[in-house]
Amino acid sequence: MGDACLACHADPGLTMTLPGGATMSVGMDAAAFAKSIHGDKLTCRACHRGIEGFPHPPRTETSRREYSLANYEACKTCHFDNYTRTLDSMHHRVLAEGNENAPVCTDCHGAHDVVDLRGKGVAISRTCASCHQEVYASYAQSVHGKAITEGNADVPDCTDCHGAHQMVDPRTRQFHEDSPDLCATCHTDAEVMGRYGISTNVLKSYLQDFHGVTVSFYKKRTPEDATVKAVCTDCHGIHDIRATDDPESSVIRANLVQTCRKCHPDATEAFPAAWLSHYEPSPTRAPMVYWVKVFYRIFVPLIVGGLVLHIGLDLGRLLVNRLRRKRG
């Protein structure tokens, strides 16, 4: 690395004055850089370009933030794929709209102390928390957030649902209609769900019911005047999702009618029983539905079979009569 640079910049107290009078720290922790993922790969000038010789050319930025925004694109020299992904992201859109607080590469990854975050769910989620405090606080109390802080690698961190570089606006209809597939990524995985005794039938049973049928059509094309039909998160919660046996769960029997009333304001106490809680009807679970199903499974073939037999007899008699007449 650039020992020449460190002759001055290893002093952590080193500062410079920007045009306009703001002070910017220009000292760096050489030990932290050495430990970073770039420590044995990059020199100072790989990222800090255009600083040739001493004294350095004068800077035009008027603030520390302006400096970051003007120089973060150095990352794309090597990380072009992830850089282009960020161009489609919500963060980049906000930045392009003029919000200087929108995060760029270095805000999430750091500058000198970049570490590999893959597989480090807690660290990832806490990175997001530096701006999204409220969402993080809610997530930290959820079944996913609690488990992740205990070191559980099965539960999602922020980026598992939102994506890392190309996170899109999650408030759109398209994100809403596509979200069951997102939950299903893990919730239909028999191996993962098996560890917690959670059914993998949840997506199938959802898609068979009114909400799921409608949403699977909306997913392809949502009519402009369509009302919102429930997806997983509308009943279970988004960041604050709880285990279904948690007394605070929005879908536990005691709270369910309140959840239904979000969309069905006149729902009565009896109404939630209309939903079979992802269970297949059976003689013990939703017996009425089960027996209606069994009845028609027998009744339909019985009646139609009988009628077809009657038709067969009619045709048979006609044929016999004609043959007899031919023979005279």
Binding site: F217, F271, A274, M288, L307
Partner: protein, 244 residues
Amino acid sequence: MPSDVSSSAERRAEPWVVRFALPQRIEHLLLVVSFTLLVLTGLPQRFAATGWAQSMIWAFGGIDSTRLIHRAFAVMFMVEGAWHAAWVTWLLATRRARPSMLPTPRDVTDSVRQIGYYLGIAKAEPAYDRYDYRQKFEYWGVVWGGVVMVVTGLIMMFPTRAAAILPGEFIPAAKEAHGGEALLAFLVIVTWHLYGAHLNPHRFPADTTIFTGRITRRRMEAEHPLELARMVDRGDPSARPPEA
């Protein structure tokens, strides 16, 4: 049923009997239109996970408009049903018509004799009145099926109101029954009704009686001799025996 099939030209020249009045023919048309549209928009909803069903739903403009069309024709079906019930009640109450659709013990013996004839046990088919047991079976099938479809359909159309007077489980049970009964109705129509009324060799390609109201005197003699006799007795002008 007549066992000889005459040419269409011959049939046109034959004397006719009036079998169905205009209101009955209009009712049947309303039933054909509403039933067809209900099946076209309903069955794809029951099988919404399959490709053909999804193509049909998109052809109707998506799931919301498919449901809207379904409900619109359901209203047509219900209005037709209510009109029929009122009209029949009035006809019977004022003794303008006999309860000719009511099942009688004779229907049981008729069906046994008819099947006996098919099997070669009975020499001749039974002599039928205005409606034979097959027609009565179908009529009461429509009545029973219609009531099931209307009740379960209304439960699904107004789920929160239904849950105000019924246990919540009635809603998924109604959905199950609506789908089962619909499949039964559809299969009965495409087998039993289309064969019985149109596709069987005696009638092929179509029996127009319910549309025109007219049936040949010859068919009436063969298929509904008791009714023809009754019409002659009460002096129905259309049933007058032809001049020899």
